[in-house]
Symmetry: C2
Subunit: 518 residues, 2 copies
Amino acid sequence: MQMKALSIGSRARALLLWSSLLTLFLSLSTAKHIPAPFPASAVRPEQLLRSRDRGHDKSPYEAEYFTQTLDHFNFNPPSYKTFQQRYLINRKHWGGPDNNSPIFVYTGNEGDIEWFAQNTGFMFETAPFFKALIVFIEHRYYGKSIPFGGNKDVAYSNTSTLGYLTSTQALADYAAIIIDLKRNLSAADSPVVAIGGSYGGMLAAWFRLKYPHIAIGALASSSPILNFDNITSPYSFNNIVTRDFRVESENCYKVIKGSWQQIDAAAKNQPGRQELRKSFRLCGSNGSANGDAIKSWLMTALIYTAMTDYPTNSNFLKPLPAYPVRQMCKAIDDPTRGNDTFGKLYRAASVYYNSSGQVSCFNPNDDSDPHGLNGWTWQACTEMVLPTSGNTAESLFPASEYSYENWRAFCESYFEVEPRPNWITTEFGGHDIERVLKRFGSNIIFFNGLRDPWSGGGVLKNISTSIVAIVAKEGAHHVDLRHSTSEDPEWLREVRKQEVHAISNWISQYYQELALAQ
Amino acid sequence: MQMKALSIGSRARALLLWSSLLTLFLSLSTAKHIPAPFPASAVRPEQLLRSRDRGHDKSPYEAEYFTQTLDHFNFNPPSYKTFQQRYLINRKHWGGPDNNSPIFVYTGNEGDIEWFAQNTGFMFETAPFFKALIVFIEHRYYGKSIPFGGNKDVAYSNTSTLGYLTSTQALADYAAIIIDLKRNLSAADSPVVAIGGSYGGMLAAWFRLKYPHIAIGALASSSPILNFDNITSPYSFNNIVTRDFRVESENCYKVIKGSWQQIDAAAKNQPGRQELRKSFRLCGSNGSANGDAIKSWLMTALIYTAMTDYPTNSNFLKPLPAYPVRQMCKAIDDPTRGNDTFGKLYRAASVYYNSSGQVSCFNPNDDSDPHGLNGWTWQACTEMVLPTSGNTAESLFPASEYSYENWRAFCESYFEVEPRPNWITTEFGGHDIERVLKRFGSNIIFFNGLRDPWSGGGVLKNISTSIVAIVAKEGAHHVDLRHSTSEDPEWLREVRKQEVHAISNWISQYYQELALAQ
C-alpha cells in the first residue's frame, strides 16, 4: 500500500488535523506530507541545525553507528534484518571504566539527534562534574537512523516498512545499544542515567521503568506520559495555552479569541480574502487566501510560542526573544499600532515567524518538503494518540470537541492504519500512577514547566521519595535541559541544581551498593 | 520454509539434544517432532489430562476466549491479525467488584492450560480465603490458543508463523486480556496477583516487573530467571540432579554413573544389543537396541524424577510414589534383586515409566506424535536458551561441556533460525539482580525447592523487604503450587503459609492505599 496524498477540504477536517498533529514539537515538520492546511514555515530539523545559535558550541561529539535489530519481538528470521542506528558520543569528560564513571544517555525522540544534542546543554554542562560519558541515541526512523538501507523513501513508503516504528521497539534499541556500548568500553559497572525531553522524556521514564537493569535512573523532562487514554482531559492542552496568554494580558487573549470569527468572515468573500492576503503578507500576487490555512498558521505560532516561552532568547523551534508570549501580547496590545485585528495578529505571528525581520512574505500553504519527516504522524496514528485538541468556550481557540473518531478516520484514510489508543496505557500504565508507583520503581525525576501546554499530561506530584516531580510555575517545554545562560532566572538555576542533586544521589547510592557487592 | 524432520545420528548430537531440550517440563513432549533419540513414553498434556488424579476435582472452571492481537509490537495492519486465546475462569469464591475483591491470574506456560489448572491447587485452595476470582490464561501457541485460525499445522509450519511465539508477546497478551476482563467485570480496582510455576513463574515475575500497573504482586514458583547468559553455571542443573541421587545413596549414584559406559559397550555388538533389548524390555522382537536412545530414555527418567521429587504421591508428569528418587535408589540398592546393572537401571526407570506395573514393554524410539507440541523447542531455539547441559567429572551423567555452538547449529538446521542467547537478559535483566532490584520493584515471591535441578537458576536470597526468596531444602519443582494433601510435611505447609501471608500483605496494603486515594 502506498500512502495517499490527502486532500483535506473541509474546515472541520482542517482543524482536526491542526489540533491532532500538533503533538510533540516535531509534529509540524512531520505534517509536511499533508498538502493543506499546514504552514509554509513549519520547522524542519535541518533548518534548525543551520540556524542554531553557534554561540553554544560546547557540544562536540562524534557520530557512531550500531547495527541494530529491526524487530526485537518477532523471531522470524526475515525480521532479523538490521539497520544502522546513529548515536553521538562525547568521551571528553568521562572518568573511564576503571572508575566506573557514569554514562549519560539521551533517549532520542522524533527527530534528528543532532538537534537534540545541540539543545540539551544540560548533559554537556553537568558531564564534567559527574565525569560522565555523554551519549545521544537517535530514535529509529529519524535523522540518519533509517531502516531499509537508510533509504527514507523505502522506510516511509508503506505500513509494512513503517510498522517497526514503535516506542517499544525504540526502547529495546536503547537497551541493545547501551549493553553493547558498555561491553565495548569494558564498562559493565558504569551506571547509566537516561535523560530525555518531551517524547524523549517519556522514553527516558519508560526506559527506567522497563529496563531498571540498564538505567539506574531517569530525568524525564516535560514528558506528558499521562496524556493518553482519558487520564488527562483533552481540554488541558489548550487550556494551558489560553492561560499563558490570558495571564499576560486579558486584552491580548480577547483579541486573539475574537480573531477566528473575523478571519472566517473575511475568507467568505473576495475582498475579505484580499484583505487577509495583504494583512498577513502572503507571498505571491495570485490566488486567494485560505482562511483555514491562515488560522492554522496563527495557531501554530501561538502554541509553539507557549511551549517555548523561555525566559531567555532561544533558538529551539525558531529564533525567539525571551518571554515570547509576553512579546506577542505586547505586539497585540500596543496602542501605537492601530486597532486592526489582522494587523495585531500579524505582528504577534511575526514574533514567532520573523524575529529577524528578514522574511518579506509568508506562505501558509507551503508544501515544499514532500520528502520531509513523517514519522510522528505515523506514531500519532498508531500508539501515540494524545488527545489535546479540545477547546472549551473559554479557549483562546474556537470551541471544539476532541473526536477520536475523526482522528481514526484520518489515519485510516492516510495510512490505512487504525490507531490503538489504549496501547500506551496497556504497555506502560498511567492510570492511578501515584498508587501504582508508590512502592514500585525508583529514581525518576519528572520535570514540568507549567507554561508548557504539555504539562497538563505530566507527573506534577511526588510519587515516592525517589520518584519525584519538579514543577516550575514559570517554566516551558524542557527548559531545564537547555544550555544555561547568564540571564537564567533563579528558579531555573534552582531546578537544575535539584536535578543534579538527585542524579548525584542515585550515583552515590549505586557506588555504595556496588562496593558492598564486591 | 518448512521445518525439517531431523535425523540425528551421532552420539554427540543425541546427547546435545537430550540435555538442551530437557528444559522446562514440557520439553519432552515438544521434542516429539524429533525422531530420535526421544523416549516413547514422553509425557503429553492430553495424556496427563486423561490420567490426572480425579480425586482432586476441587478445580472447576469455565473456558472462555479472548480475541487477542497477534503482534503487539508492530503496527503494520496485517499484523493486526487476531487469534482466539483461551482462559479458564472460576467465579465461585469471588467477592465481586463492589468489594474490589482480588483476581488471581495464572500466567500460563508452555502447555495446555487445563493441565496447569489441575496441578495448581494452591489457587483453588486459597481463593476462598481471599474471595478471589481465579483465572488461568493459556500461553499463545499452546493448548487451544493457537493463532492462524486455531490451526496448529499452520501455526507451527514455519518461522514466519512461529515468529510471534515469544515471551514478550505472551506478557502483552496477559496485559491485554486482564485489562479487558476487568473492564467487562467492572472491576477496575480489584487487585491482580500473578501466579505461575516454572516458565509460567518466570512470566509471573516478569509480568510484575514489566506491568506493575496491572499486577500488584507475583508468586513466581521454581522460575529459573537466572539460568540465562552465563549467570548460572551450565553445570548447575546436572549437579543438582547428581546431588539428589547421591544424598539418597552413594551406591545408587555409583551404579547409575557407571551404567553409561556399560550401555555404550553393550551397544557396540549384537549380543550386547540383544542384552539391552531384553534388560530394558524393549517392544518388538526385531531390530537392535539403540544405546543412545536407551541412555536418553534413562536420563529423562532420572531428571524428571529429580524435578518432581515430591513428598507425596503425585501425578504431574507421571504417576509417581512419594519421594520417587528414594524409590529409584531403593530399586537400585535392593540386595535381593541381583547385581545386574541393567536390571537395576530398568527397575529404577520403572519407578518413573511404570508405577502402575501395567506397561509390558517400552519403546525409547517412539515417535508416534508427529503433530505434538513443538512450541518449547522453538522457544529454546530463539530466546529461551537455558544452558543446563554441562556435566562435571562428578556428574551422575557422562562428563560433557555445554556448547552453545552445537545448539545454534541444531536450531539453524531444524528451524533455520539463529538463537538470541542474550535477548532475555537484555529484555528482562538477571545480571546483578540483587543490586538492580534492591531499590526497584516490590511484591515478588521467588519460591525454590533445592531438590529441583532448576533451583540453581532461581532467586535464592531475599532482594528487598518485599522481593523475597522462599527456599525449601526438601522441595521439588513448584511443589508449593500443588494441591495440598493430608500427608504434606510440615515444611511444605509452612511454605504455603508464608506465601499466603505475603500475598495477604500485598492486598491489605493495596486496599489501604486505595482507600487513601478515594
